[in-house]
Amino acid sequence: MRVPVKLVEKASGQFVDAELFDEVTEEHLLLAEEQWRPMIREARRKLPPELRPRNAHWDWTSKDRELALLANTFYAIQLADKIEGLMKVETVGHVCRLPEQSRKELVYIDYVETAPWNIKVLMNALGEQPKYALVGTRLIEAAVRQSFEEGFKGRVGLHAVPTSHDFYIKVCGMTPVAPDPNKENLLWCEFTPEQAAKL
C-alpha cells in the first residue's frame, strides 16, 4: 500500500506531498536510524533533563525480524529521500480496556516516531525550527484506517509518554484510560469507534 499524504511545511505554511506506505523494509529502518538518531542525541545533550526525549535509545533496526510477522504492520512516511515518520502497530496481543469496549480487538500502536527535524523541542535545542507538521497525525490516521479495515471499527490503543499526552488526548481525541503499572506507568489511551470516526 502506498498513498499520497499531505504534510505542512512549517516555514511556508504550505501543504507538501509525501508518501505513506506499509511496505517497510529493513533498509527503511536503517535509513531512519542513520538520518534520525545522531540528531536526537545531539539535541538531547543540549536539553535540560525534563525536556530530554525518552526515545533517544530507540533502535528501529532491532525490529527487523518483526517485519515478517502477520501480527505487525510497519508504516513509514517518506518525502524525497527522507523518512519523516515511522510506526509499528500490532493487531494481536492487546485488547481494549475501556469498560464499554473491554476485551475487544484493537490496533495497538507499539512504536511511533517522527523525524527529529519535525519536533519543536529538539530543533529549538539545536537553534533551528521544525520542518514539517502533521507527520504524527498522518500515522495515527493510518492506524485508525487499518482498524476499520480489520473489522475493529476504529478501535486503537497505545501507551503515551508524558510529553505526548496532549497530542493524543487533545489533538487526536483519544480517551486517557489509566497509567499502566506493567508498562512504566505510561498512560493507556484508547479510541472508541465514535472518536476514531471523528479523526
Binding site: 500500500m1 498513498v3 510477522l69 501480527a71 476485551r103 475487544k104 480487538e105 479495515e149 480489520e150
Partner: protein, 70 residues
C-alpha cells in the same frame, strides 16, 4: 489501500462452527477477521517459541503454567 485477498473454502464441524460463531459474537468480529487474528497469533507464538522464548499463563494466585505449543 487494502491488500489483495484470496478466497478459500473452510470445512468445519458443527462444534467448530459454533465456537467460531460464539467468538465472533464476543469479539465483535466477522468470522474472517477472527480466523485472520487466529493465524496471526499462531504465527507470532510459533516465531517466539522458535527463538527460545516461553509462553506462560498466570492464574489469580500468580501460579504460572507453561503452555506447550506443537
Amino acid at each position: 489501500m487494502t491488500p489483495q485477498k484470496k478466497t478459500m473454502t473452510l470445512n468445519l464441524t458443527d462444534q467448530e462452527m459454533r465456537v467460531l460463531d460464539e467468538l465472533s459474537e464476543q469479539k465483535d468480529l466477522s468470522k474472517t477477521a477472527l480466523l485472520r487474528q487466529a493465524l496471526r497469533l499462531y504465527q507470532m507464538v510459533d516465531a517466539r517459541l522458535a527463538r527460545g522464548e516461553k509462553l506462560f499463563f498466570e492464574d489469580d494466585q500468580k501460579a504460572k503454567a507453561e503452555l506447550m505449543v506443537l
